[in-house]
């Protein structure tokens, strides 16, 4: 593998600086944002590089569990931040986080113990990137699905209540909306699987090929990851929607939109 040195990175940074200068000349108002984002990339990635380096040097279950928890909490916060109308109180954070925990962690552990079969099974070189990819994708799916569920329930409250009046159970009254939400949560990964290799070369596979892996080995890993992601997203979205659609009603099958916060501006 060809190692990059500081000069290589400085040349690439020069391109970003040139783009920033151009943006400044054209008064696009982007140069500030571009420079800040570029600096953040350098700092954040260097930090995570250092963390991973330390983690790989000391293979310890506690350390792996610790960084997994940080990743989970960050993903949970992100799911909550992407909701137009979120559940009030602890549920707003706990619902998405709980669903991600159950699906992503279970699938990662399953993959590490039975498919990749690393030794020890929590070997951070495999565990952290695998969990990261699963969490990232499950997070997007759950955020999309929950947002769709709550905003549609809000818009169609009159129809949901009409169905309840006619004797529908809460699950019957929200069945179609839940199905739509499930579909929008699963669409990104289904599209990614359908387009893989034809339209886009997936990032992980590209990375492995750049690092010198034989292409077919990289492809096998990518297929494994795609399958894990689609299963993880599917289970995670299902769990989150199940919790959320129950939570939209009370035990007397009444629609309780007062459990949602107002729209964000």
């Amino acid at each position: 593998m060809i190692m990059l040195n500081t000069v290589d990175l400085a040349l690439a940074a020069g391109l970003v600086l040139a783009m920033a200068a151009l943006s400044w000349r054209m008064q696009l108002g982007l140069s500030g944002q571009l420079l800040i984002a570029g600096t953040r990339t350098v700092v954040q990635l260097l930090l995570i590089g250092l963390v991973l380096k330390a983690l790989f040097a000391n293979v310890d279950l506690l350390w792996v569990a610790g960084i997994s928890l940080v990743m989970l909490l960050a993903a949970g916060r992100e799911v909550m931040a992407r909701q137009q109308r979120r559940f009030t109180g602890w549920w707003g954070f706990g619902m998405g986080t709980g669903a991600m925990f159950v699906s992503s962690f279970a699938i990662t552990v399953l993959a590490l113990t039975s498919m990749v079969a690393t030794d020890p099974w929590y070997d951070p070189q495999y565990a952290v990137p695998l969990l990261g990819m699963l969490l990232g994708n499950t997070m997007s799916g759950i955020a999309l699905a929950l947002d769709r569920l709550t905003s549609t329930a809000w818009q169609q409250r009159a129809i949901i209540e009409q169905r309840l009046m006619l004797g529908a159970t809460r699950l019957e009254a929200i069945a179609e909306i839940r199905r739509e939400a499930m579909r929008s949560g699963m669409m990104p990964i289904i599209n990614a699987m359908a387009a893989a290799g034809l339209v886009s070369l997936p990032g992980m596979m590209t990375g492995q090929i750049l690092a010198g892996s034989p292409p077919l080995e990289a492809v096998k890993y990518q297929i494994l990851i795609m399958f894990l992601i689609s299963a993880g997203t599917g289970f995670g979205v299902t769990a989150a929607l199940w919790l959320a659609s129950k939570r939209l009603f009370d035990e007397r099958h009444r629609l309780r939109l007062d459990k949602l916060s107002g729209p964000r501006h």
């Binding site: 129809i159 009409q162 309840l164 009046m165 006619l166 004797g167 629609l255």
Partner: protein, 212 residues
């Protein structure tokens, strides 16, 4: 007879709909009783909470106090089952499928003829219905559940004079045939006098009976 004054003992034998000290959305307490086969009219200024009261009786809104059907409290019956028996017909009906028939679970509706519809109506598009047609179809739809209590919120508000008579007659026949208890919200004093055997007024203090 007011349910509030009745003891727990004889409450067990009361048939029909009993509402006892019902409070919802900071309003109430409301108490009222409607016997089987009785039709009671309800009036009140707009904003006095008539619709809120009906929603609470149908158990669609959180409330305190008790609602009983034939002496059985609503809390002892599964909520969807309760709403089939204590049916609310809201002032504005809502439809979620494209065709009329999809809202009738593919069954025939014996009230279509009387209401001026035919079997063909089942294939009509919801988007092309007039407000009057929607109101009559919503009545037919709610009667399909064979409710024992009908909570009607201005059921003839969008109808022309002929159809008002048709709907009043249909509800009257349904009530006689099935012994259903009917609570009928109406702004029209003449209609209230026509359809109701007793008349209630909703005030901030509660429910008061008045005579015409």
């Amino acid at each position: 007879m007011t349910p509030r004054s009745s003891t727990l003992q004889n409450r067990q034998n009361i048939s029909g709909l009993s509402v006892i000290d019902l409070c919802t959305h900071g309003r109430g307490p409301y108490s009222l009783h409607i016997a089987p086969g009785e039709c009671v009219s309800l009036r009140g200024d707009s904003g006095s909470g008539k619709s809120l009261l009906l929603r609470a009786i149908a158990d669609l809104a959180p409330h305190t106090g008790q609602v009983l059907l034939d002496s059985t409290p609503s809390t002892q019956i599964a909520a969807p089952q309760w709403r089939k028996q204590v049916a609310l017909l809201p002032a504005e009906s809502h439809w979620w499928k494209d065709e009329v028939g999809a809202h009738f679970a593919g069954e025939e509706c014996r009230w279509f003829d009387v209401l001026g519809f035919s079997a063909e109506t089942m294939r009509w598009q919801i988007s092309r219905l007039s407000s009057g047609e929607k109101q009559r179809l919503a009545l037919a739809r709610v009667l399909m559940n064979k409710p024992q209590v009908l909570l009607l919120d201005e059921p003839t508000a969008s109808l022309d004079a002929d159809n008002v008579i048709v709907v009043e007659k249909l509800i009257d026949e349904y009530r006689r045939d099935t012994g259903a208890a009917v609570l009928w919200v109406s702004h029209d004093a003449q209609q209230a006098a026509r359809v109701g055997s007793r008349h209630l007024q909703l005030t901030t203090e509660g429910v008061r009976e008045y005579s015409v």
